[in-house]
Symmetry: D3
Subunit: 239 residues, 6 copies
């Protein structure tokens, strides 16, 4: 069973980072996982949410959204509908939890980094591309802050990268494109730190329930994919 | 390190099912996991959502909510705020996916079962109690339908149960109460079918990222807890 | 014309109070008027709304809601619809006005008691059960405050109880169940203090308009029902 | 204790009806109760709400609103706030129930009359002025329909009028202006049919609870006021 | 081609101002442009929006709305729909920009004038009638403030008036009524100061695009109309 | 007075069109006016809005939005706020009216083209860039339809382009960047067809009102700018 784009089962799609895509954001990247394109922007604010005030600690938060024609057929705008969908909020929360693993909030000081991940085009794996890009935008924003002496020491204590894995026709595959995503029996999104530990593991049986062996195979595949993405992140940040 | 209620690390809290708690619902149960109490109601409708019409197949959907004083301090109502929070939607979606693993939609025919899981009191593990109770309410609603000849054959093809697990002070523990939940380094919710396969695995590093060994220990613990809950579900449904 | 449950026209349904149903609320009761079950919770906050600040006076407010499957057929959630219905707001306001008759706000000090009345099952008379239960939860919350020295003197200056009355087939009846409620020509909700005076009188001609004689008969019946409920409240609070 | 405008306790404020104030509405009146001015418009639609279809019966519904500067100090618009307040919905529902007492829905046929009552200036008694005016607009709309043969027979089977009464400094008074309304111990709104029967009685203890004698005095006063308003309605409709 | 009401192409409809139509507003006028009636109210507040605080400068803002039966057929209320339409917001913003041209904000001091323009009946040109009336209400509110010494000097530095113009059957016409408005090929709203300069020019090709000659003819016509309206405003304010 | 980027007063910023930027949309272009970048997508649907059904005619509609970090400082998302701002709706309506000038709706048949204009980066002139790009996306979508025989004849009867003009320090200038936009005394947006006629003229005095001579100078400048943009559109579409 060949993959739609003839990749090996454990092969990522072409990954591309365009750092500094926005002129004004303190950090920004246009990340591509194949046909999936997500614009990640990091905005620095010299304040924290009300519940965090006078704690001496900073905060990082994230919002995910999709342009109406990012997909094959057009979706109505959530701003027009007047409410956020459950999927949007779920992914925003996932990205937020993931990037919070990167930071020492005391070193960040009472500043907030707001990450905006807007999907310009969707071809599967938008949330994992968003997390992988968000880290790069965050790293640039932290560097921007450090240049200006806005932090105490280095708040960036870890990197995160994320990838989707799934079982299609019984075969575990890495980094599913949309065509694969809709047919997967099992679908898992995994977020790892640069040193290979797990921040989030979210596995869902779309069709039949999965057993422990399948779960283990998927975790293995995802850990490898995240390691590759970590290397790509380091490379682009080193430029 | 003793647990707040002196349980063994792999011990569930007392679980109690009050079947038929509501007079009108086609299926209902008031489920308790220790101090957590969730009222689960299953409502049968002889129609399906628009996108499902003329497919010959049924549907099941779920909504989760919490009463304002279910918790230690009062929370504002989402109906008053005029919008559903992200957590509410996320859990509603999780319950929906979980119970969909129980049904053969062709056998269900063009009927919808709507599951409502309302948390009357919260002491940790509300989503897992909700899923575990929702299955019982669903089973009763399906029996109600079968008595009336509304299904073709038996739509109930699997059972589901769910439990939370987490690492506290380095120790993996089963079925966290609220006090444990807020201090857990890693928090995982696992949904299993009655035959021990996985429907959902959602693990989150609340503090430090977790490694594969921790993940394996938690999965083991959760699988055991779900098996116990399955036995309790079978027992209460056999009455 | 017998009543559906063979009660005498001036007879209440079985009334049951489960005090302290919630572990965390400062006052709580699960009240039942026959098949109607309302969970009433009183939450104490050591602040008052903005318009009340620096007045030296406290406040009490109430919110009423119904679970989606409290009724024969399921109703959509107001949180999902994104707006409160008129009926919900009307009843919340009625409960709030009723319990405000119980309190000396100066003695309460700048504290707020928030009453939440959630209908778990509805069989007619939900608003009157809610008011009758809310008073018990309020009394417990005030006792909780007094034990902690949070009030100046005793803020509880009156009790309130409420009951519905209506004319069915020309016969005035006390405490209508749902089946009676939908067929009543005239429907009235009456809130009385423990000493027999009126706090609210809300009478509506559902069918033909009513004359003064009917109105007088209904007021008489309601006053008697409220007196009985007052006795039951006193008994349960004396335990 | 003189009244602010030196009226006798049982005297209405000057009442003025300007019929046909709008060019397009099928019925309309600008009604004044002293300084209170309400524009009542009746719109005829040749359809009924979904739940009423194929019943052969019509419907009448009402909406109440207030312009932002109808009052002493400006109120924010509900359209800008994005939600209807509880008071607005409560009064809209009251007006709707009141005018429904006027109609034989079978004779109306499957038509809807929508009544809009917009308070242009408020000086107490806006809901009672709205009901009293709404009847006149409704009568004109029904006449408009009958001229065009849109009804079967005469759907207008009763008239309604409404007035507020209250106790100020121990004295029962008719048709309270704003200054009296805010100081009333007891406040009651009464809706009567032209033949003197009651459609709605809504009494509220704003201060101390009221006893049966006070209630009786207020009902007496209100019934007299409604009779006077009925005579004025008949007079203006006879022109 | 005669106009529906036989006016000359450059003739305004009868214009009528009823100053002080409201008892409480600091300035108010019921303005009529033929069948179009707009109630304009100016409310003075001794504060400014947050972003304007401590600037020593005042602010003026405007809200436009239409009663549901102002038009031939009834429109649903925006308060009931829960959201403001684009047209409503666009016109509110236009009125706000227009009246801001009238004021010296330093002389106004840290006060806000809120203008409410509510269309009671619509027959074309509601936004231009609203602007023309809003100026009169504003002038009265400023006079009210000056009498009380709330301003520094005279904040009223200009007057504004507005009129619509359009091309119907190739003929440029002034002050379109509804019947003309819906058939106009080109439709323009022009706001001028009393000294004949432009504050806003908004021209739209409803049918075929328009050329420079048509544009010039319309601007000429509008400037003349605004000059006439300015004279009428001065006259009514001089009374 | 040099311009911030040293352009001549009548000189456009560098304009760049990236046609086919999206893989799925029937027409798309990423348009840049200097630092302003707008992604325009045209989506074809084989249906029309309800009010247009069975007319034999098509429709085109537009939505404008801005990413949160398109600007110097971050703006909150309208989807999160739960309501569309007035500016957003105003610009969406403007784009819709502008592109409607391009189409023969009978030739389009009962199809709808939905244009989405999302501002990825904003540096002044976002609405004019959106209109200019929307035409290109629309032209591609129409070509896509014609290839598939979905239209009757050629629905594209005109092109539109748009540009902003303004007076800065007394000097009329073409195509304002953000820095100029905020300091302009007068600000005008002009939409022209390819043959030089006007579709929209929207001029606003931001500071002092403007006279006829200024207006004429701005119209002249804008017409020239639109002609240049038309040439660029034709060039990119000819590729």
């Amino acid at each position: 069973m060949a993959r739609p784009d003839d990749r090996a089962p454990d092969q990522l799609r072409p990954v591309r980072f365009q750092r500094g895509w926005l002129d004004h954001a303190e950090g920004s990247v246009l990340i591509e996982f194949g046909g999936t394109r997500v614009l990640c922007a990091a905005s620095v604010q010299d304040s924290v949410p009300r519940w965090r005030r006078d704690s001496g600690q900073g905060w990082v938060t994230a919002e995910y959204a999709m342009l109406p024609r990012a997909t094959n057929t057009r979706n109505d705008r959530e701003s027009v509908k007047g409410r956020l969908g459950g999927r949007t909020q779920e992914i925003s929360r996932l990205i937020g939890r993931s990037v919070r693993a990167c930071l020492d909030f005391k070193a960040l000081g009472e500043n907030t980094v707001q990450l905006d991940c807007d999907v310009l085009q969707a071809d599967g794996g938008t949330r994992t591309a968003a997390i992988t890009g968000a880290y790069v935008a965050l790293a640039d924003a932290v560097a921007w802050m450090r240049e200006r002496g806005l932090c105490k020491g280095d708040p960036l204590i870890a990197s995160v990268a994320a990838v989707s894995v799934g079982v299609i026709d019984g075969q575990p595959r890495l980094d599913l494109c949309y065509e694969e995503d809709v047919t997967a029996q099992t679908d898992m999104n995994v977020v790892c730190t640069g040193d290979g530990r797990f921040v989030e593991v979210q596995g869902t049986a779309e069709g039949a329930p999965f057993d422990r062996a399948e779960l283990d195979a998927l975790l293995e595949l995802a850990a490898g994919g995240c390691a590759e993405l970590t290397a790509l992140q380091n490379e682009v940040l080193a430029r």
